[in-house]
Symmetry: C2
Subunit: 110 residues, 2 copies
Amino acid sequence: MSSGALPDGTVVAMCSALADETRWSILTTLGEGDASASALARRLPVTRQAIAKHLAVLHEVGLVETVQAGREVRYRVIGTELSAMARRLDAIGTEWDRRLATIKHLAENI
Amino acid sequence: MSSGALPDGTVVAMCSALADETRWSILTTLGEGDASASALARRLPVTRQAIAKHLAVLHEVGLVETVQAGREVRYRVIGTELSAMARRLDAIGTEWDRRLATIKHLAENI
DNA sequence: ACAACCTGCAACCCTTTGGTTGCAGGCAAG
DNA sequence: CTTGCCTGCAACCAAAGGGTTGCAGGTTGT
C-alpha cells in the first residue's frame, strides 16, 4: 500500500527539490515563459551559477526540461511529474484521515 | 492565481518537512497507529532525540498532532494539511501543462 | 520510597547545501 | 575577425540540518 506507481525515493527527491524558496522563484518565473539560466539570473537576486545548480536539481527530478535554442539553453517547466506526485500525496493524506475516522467510529460504538 | 488558500511559505515548509527519508519512516510508522517518541525510537534505527526533532518539524507544519496519554506523549498523523497541499501542487502542475498545450496549439495554427 | 520509564533541553560533530568568485570554452552577431 | 554573451567546471565559504551523547525533571508502578 505504501509503494505505488512511482518509486518511493522519487517523492523524497521531488519534495527536496521543492523545499527551497529560490527554486520556487525559478519555477514560477519559468511558469510565465521559457527562459535561459542567464535570463533567470537577471530577474532573480542570485548568481547565474547558483541558478544553474538549481536548474540541475529541478531537471534531475523532471520538473523542467531543456530546449536548445541556438547558443543558449532554454528551460521549460513541466507539470506532469508534479501532478503525479501531488495525486499520490493526496491519496496518502486521505488514507491517514480515513484511518482516523475509522478509529473514532469504532470508539463511538463501544 | 499563484496565491491560494494557504500561505505560500507553507508549501515550502511542508515540502521541506517531507524531504527526509527518516521523517517518511516516522510518518509511515505512525500511519499504522499512534505512537510515542520512545516507541518510535525502538522501531527505527535512530535515537529518540533525533525522532523528537523530526516530530517537532512534522508538528510545526501540521502533519502530526500530539495526544497526552498519561506520562507519555503519543503522536498521531494528520492527512488534512497534506491533502490540501497536494491539491494545490496538482493545480500548479496542471496549469503548467495547460500553458504548454496552449503554446503548442498556437504554434500549429500559424 | 524506589526503580523504571518517558520527556525535554543543551552542547557538540559531521555532512549537506545554497551561494559566491574565478576561469576557460563556444557560438553568434557586428 | 573580433567582440560580446552564454555556457560549463572547479574551488571555496558559511549556514543549515540530521544525528549523537549527556544530563536533569516528572510519572507511573511495585
